[in-house]
Every structure is written in structure tokens, then in C-alpha cells.
């Protein structure tokens, strides 16, 4: 219907028609303006003439349609079999495993902290002495050890106590976090002074790794290195006269996972018969009285943290229960001895008391014997 061709029926129609045209014009102008804005923006943003690139450039980015290659011409799994060197632990890791490895290695990422906490918890429960040993070389470990001992209350040996890797996870606390690898948990012997080296070597393995030139921070019994290696390191670092492997002195042996060691230790301390000592309460009280004068405990590496000893003791004030970790007076006495003879002789560094406890603990189930410790301190008080 062509209304504009029809004769106007009246002034209103004209006006109406004019109105309609006006409205139409406005709409068309809107459309034109829209286009202008679009073009102007394209010009100013620089993509207006994009479809006019020269042939050469066009050929360069042509779509590729060959087998084994994507449309950009890149090979699909080019990096699948490559190995990358981890910047943290310097190991060569497969490319597809690199990201998870980094997560754990650097201690970041969602799972790594969870795993670390779990390991810490079980480590504290199972191989407490070893872990304490490791920590004592680091600063500010009192709080940490305290907390660890508190947690030790609920020890459940859900993991193998004899696993040599347990203690390594503790390094995570100090920022190393080699959950599975040992390399980072080493110390460069050049950084330590002679005294530090000596004290370090009395408690830890210390064998120098060939790759990293660092000393092994594991226990004296770490399975990665032999005793000959440890002796050699001591000779190398301290001179031929210095090295006395603490292992030789079973009393002072910082870590003994075996139960018999605890027994030997106790006998050395000249306490009453071992069987009597085993029960926490009576033994501890007897032992404490005897212990105060005994010089032995001093020599033991145990005089590192008497505080922690007592704490652990107090946790189980009434424990005769076999379920709880028993701490024969052995540990207690050493703690008591240490308290009275603070810093005398013995091992350098802190954390000795913990080893005591671990020794004695290992004798039986790895559980605390709180009552003995508390009673000792009562006596002292």
C-alpha cells in the first residue's frame, strides 16, 4: 500500500503523514549515526583496515591442515617427553609431572600443606626423638617442639616408626619442605663455624652430599649413609682427633629407634633395674631422686630441652596406662639432671632432652610417660 501516493484526505492526514515521515527519518538517522560511531571506533582502535593485509602476511598465518600438527602448525605433544630441572631441588622431572612436583617441592598449593601437616602429626607421634633432633639445629624451635610434644599425647603410630624419611618432613617448618626429597634439608659446612660443626656432627649424620655439597641433616643412623662415611666427614671437618661418633656412646646416642637402646641407656644411668624403671610412676620418682646427683645425664644429648620433657610428662600425670606413651624415668631423670646442671658438659645445642625421652620411650610403646616427669619436677620444687 503506497499511502504517500494517495491523495491527502485532509490536513490531518498530511500532518499525520509528515509525522510518520519524521519518525522514519529519525530512525534512519539513528542507524546512520550508529554506523558512524562504529566506524570511527574501528579507525581509532586500528582495526578498521584489518581485512586489507597484504598477501605475504596472509600466507604467513594461513590455516594449516596437516596431520600431526594443529592449525597453527605447532606439533601437539612436543614437550611431552622432555624433562625439566626443578629450580628448588635440582632434580630432573618429567614435564607432565612437573607442576605437581613443584607444588610439593615449594610447599605451596592446596595439597602440600595438608600433606605436610599430616606428616608432621604422624611424625611427632611416631618418631619424636628423631624429629626433635632435626629441629634442634634450627632457631626458635622451642615453641614448635613444645607443641609437638603436646600433640604427642595422641600418638598413634599409624606410620612406620622406622621409616627414615619421617623426620625430613619437619624441615618444612623451616621453609625447606622437601616432603619426599632430602636434598634441601642439608646444611653447607662452609657456613658453619667449627663449634657449630662439631655440635652439628654430634647429633646429625653430616655426611656431605656430592651433588649439593651439603651435610646430611638426618639422624646418626640415617640409612642413606654409612658409619664410615660419617667418620670420614668428621675427620675431614674436625681433624683426625675430633671425631667421636656419638653412636659409640650408646648412652648419649641421640636417637635410637630400638627398644634395647633404651634399656641400655637406663642401665647406664645407674638406676634401679630396668623392669622397675619401666613403670612410669614409681620408676620416675626413684629415678629422679637418684638422678639429681648423677653426672651421666649431662653427657647425654638429652639436656637440650628439659622443658619439653616436663611438658610431655605433665600431659600424662596419671599414666600407667599402656596406651599412652610411657616415658621411663630415664627421660625424666635426664630432664631433672639437666635442669639442675643446665648446660653442663654434654651435647651442644638444644633438644637433648627430647632424645632422652625418645630413647626411653622407644623402650616400650612410643607413648609419653607423663607422671614420671611431673613427679620429678615436683621433687625439684
Amino acid at each position: 500500500m503506497k499511502m504517500e501516493d494517495m491523495p491527502l484526505s485532509g490536513p490531518d492526514n498530511t500532518k499525520l503523514e509528515a509525522l510518520v515521515n519524521d519518525i522514519y527519518s529519525e530512525l534512519v538517522e539513528d542507524a546512520c549515526l550508529g554506523l558512524c560511531f562504529e566506524v570511527h571506533r574501528a579507525v581509532k582502535q586500528g582495526y578498521f583496515f584489518l581485512d586489507e593485509t597484504d598477501q605475504e602476511s596472509m600466507k604467513e598465518f594461513e590455516i594449516v591442515d596437516q596431520p600431526g600438527v594443529d592449525i597453527f602448525g605447532q606439533v601437539y605433544n612436543q614437550w611431552k617427553n622432555k624433562e625439566c630441572e626443578c629450580p628448588n631441588c635440582k632434580r630432573l622431572i618429567a614435564a607432565s609431572r612437573f607442576a605437581p612436583h613443584l607444588e610439593k617441592c615449594l610447599g605451596m598449593g592446596r595439597n602440600s600443606s595438608r600433606i605436610a601437616n599430616r606428616r608432621l602429626a604422624s611424625n611427632n607421634n611416631t618418631s619424636k626423638s628423631e624429629s626433635d633432633q632435626e629441629d634442634n639445629d634450627d632457631l626458635n624451635d622451642n615453641d614448635w617442639s613444645y607443641g609437638a610434644e603436646k600433640r604427642a599425647k595422641k600418638r598413634k603410630s599409624d606410620k612406620s616408626q622406622n621409616s627414615p624419611r619421617r623426620s625430613k618432613t619437619l624441615k618444612h617448618k623451616n621453609g625447606f619442605s622437601p616432603f619426599q626429597y632430602n636434598y634441601n634439608a642439608g646444611i653447607n659446612y662452609e657456613m658453619l663455624g667449627p663449634d657449630e660443626v662439631r655440635s652439628f656432627l654430634t647429633t646429625q649424620c653430616g655426611v656431605i652430599s656430592e651433588h649439593t655439597k651439603k651435610m646430611c641433616t638426618r639422624s646418626q643412623r640415617c640409612p642413606q649413609h654409612t658409619d664410615e662415611q660419617r667418620m670420614a666427614v668428621r675427620v675431614f671437618l674436625l681433624g683426625p682427633s675430633a671425631p667421636v661418633l656419638p653412636e659409640a656412646d650408646s648412652v648419649a646416642g641421640p636417637e635410637s629407634f630400638d627398644i634395647p637402646d633404651g634399656q641400655a641407656l637406663m642401665s647406664r644411668l645407674q638406676w634401679e633395674d630396668s623392669p622397675e624403671i619401666s613403670p612410669s610412676d614409681s620408676a620416675s620418682s626413684k629415678a629422679s631422686e637418684e638422678k639429681s646427683g648423677s653426672p651421666f645425664p649431662i653427657k647425654l644429648r638429652m639436656d637440650k630441652e628439659p622443658i619439653s620433657v616436663s611438658l610431655t610428662g605433665t600431659n600424662h600425670s596419671d599414666s600407667r596406662r599402656p596406651k599412652k606413651k610411657k616415658r621411663p624415668p630415664l627421660g625424666l631423670n635426664s630432664g631433672g639432671g639437666i635442669g639442675s646442671l643446665s648446660g653442663g658438659g654434654g651435647g651442644g645445642g638444644g633438644g637433648g632432652s627430647q632424645t632422652n625421652i625418645s630413647l626411653s620411650t622407644k623402650k616400650k610403646k612410643p607413648k609419653l610417660t607423663a607422671p614420671s616427669i611431673s613427679s620429678i619436677y615436683d621433687d625439684l620444687n
Binding site: 500500500m1 499511502m3 500532518k15 509525522l19 519518525i23 522514519y24 546512520c32 566506524v39 583496515f49
Partner: protein
Amino acid sequence: MIMSKDYQLKASINQKLIEMGERERLKELLRAKLVESGWKDQLKAHCKDVVREKGLEHVTVEDLVTEVTPKGRALVPDNVKKELLQRIRAFLAQHTAL
């Protein structure tokens, strides 16, 4: 001659168009038809000429508007124009008491 009454009438009709959403619908319809008919590409080509003429760095919106709008108006195909006019008239017939 512009009588205030007419002016008022126009204003009220416009207002009604907008309120009922008809204006927007008409606009979209027009745009779609113009693209369909190739009007937009034609005009864009013309824009390229204008831009090249004025220089890429210095072209302004006003330049484009003054160059493009008259041509745009002229280039609208007849059928598109007719359809639009038709719809506007229908709307007016429905919603005004004229």
C-alpha cells in the same frame, strides 16, 4: 508552520512510541533490514573512502556524520522504507485518536 499543537502531538506520539517499546523494535527492525540488504556494507565502503581522504589519524565523528548520513539516507532501499513507514502508520492508527 510549526504549531505548538502539532509539536505537542509529535512529542506525545514519540513518547508513546518509546514507552511501549515500539521505537526500539522499529529501530532493530530497520537495522536488521539494512544489514540484510547490504546497505551497511555499502556505506562502510564509503566510510573507508572518507577515512582515507581525511587521513586515518585525523578523522572525527563529525566528519563521518556529515559525509555519511545524507548518502545513507539516500541509499535505503525502497522496500525497507515502505515497510517501516507502514509499521509507523499502523502504530499511530492503533494508539492515537486521529
